[in-house]
Symmetry: C2
Subunit: 211 residues, 2 copies
Amino acid sequence: MTIGRSEQVALTRGLLLRTAERMFAEEGISTVSNRRISEAAGQGNNFAVGYHFGGKLELLRAILGHHNAAIEPLRRTMLSDLGPEMGMREWISCLVRPQTDYLRSLGTPTYFARFCAQITTDPKYGPLLYEQKDVSEELITVLTGMYAALPSLPPSVLEIRDTMARNMIVLTLADHERACAAGEASRTWEDIGEQLVDALIGVWLAPVTNE
Amino acid sequence: MTIGRSEQVALTRGLLLRTAERMFAEEGISTVSNRRISEAAGQGNNFAVGYHFGGKLELLRAILGHHNAAIEPLRRTMLSDLGPEMGMREWISCLVRPQTDYLRSLGTPTYFARFCAQITTDPKYGPLLYEQKDVSEELITVLTGMYAALPSLPPSVLEIRDTMARNMIVLTLADHERACAAGEASRTWEDIGEQLVDALIGVWLAPVTNE
């Protein structure tokens, strides 16, 4: 049995995606060149990343898109399970739990959470992490519902707490993923999700001293 | 007037520190080689970092040590100003405000907050950020006081919220520093400090759902 041309292309693309994600997660985004990814993926052609994705920006988008596409159905299921009566805790859970459920479903080690943490602190590619929300209908539903369920906050406080909340999710998931990969995790993904939801509620409900 | 040998060494060392901090902050820790730092600092000898610091680990420690030594007196002053009647808010302020006051005192642009954010997500050097606390008496006083003022939490919840709180401080300061450097900051360092203290109180006071 021979593999057709389009299957070969899909296999190579998947191999490059997984290799790049692992290298980015472990070494940082800027450190890893397209050439090194191509080499590590065993591609004779050092320009394989350029050929298959166009460039690093498109490669990063493809990695994010791949995972977000898998998280969306989990978010949709959770939204429909919870029904119409949703408070702040339920909305925040719909933001966090599909991510922890997804990471758990992949087994150990995963690299996606550390990959996201690397993007977050990358001066050049940082904004990428949140442009994807524009294309996920479920995420827009969750964020809209969550903002409506929050206590009334001055816009500038809402904005900074939103950034704090996002950073908290990204770095907490990355810390746990690192602990899992090192065999040092004392918690489950499910528990990490619960701890995050509790803390995020604290961030959103915290009284505002000055504005 | 000629510059003596020891002054020359101190000048070169200071120049390497500032150059390295800026490059690490803007590009990440692993991306930047000792050779590139030496070159960017205009050192004819490409091994200047090795000669003056020993290696990257010692260089990172020297950058952290330089700033922490300057933050300590601010922490000491704040502790003595606040007097003996301190609650959770005052202790958390003693953790946050000396950092924001220090960053403000440096003028714009600063690099230290982004440098800390880069270390935080660096798989190899991440733990460096918190080993320094062992040598600052003021920071130990603040952390001891803060932990004693917190509501009673199961040890494992205390641990994860501690990590969340640290990450929140580091990334929020880095985000603001980046906005300042880009001329896009809509807040002051003082206000960032207040927003952080409010949100951190929320994290620590959030009820625990499951343990």
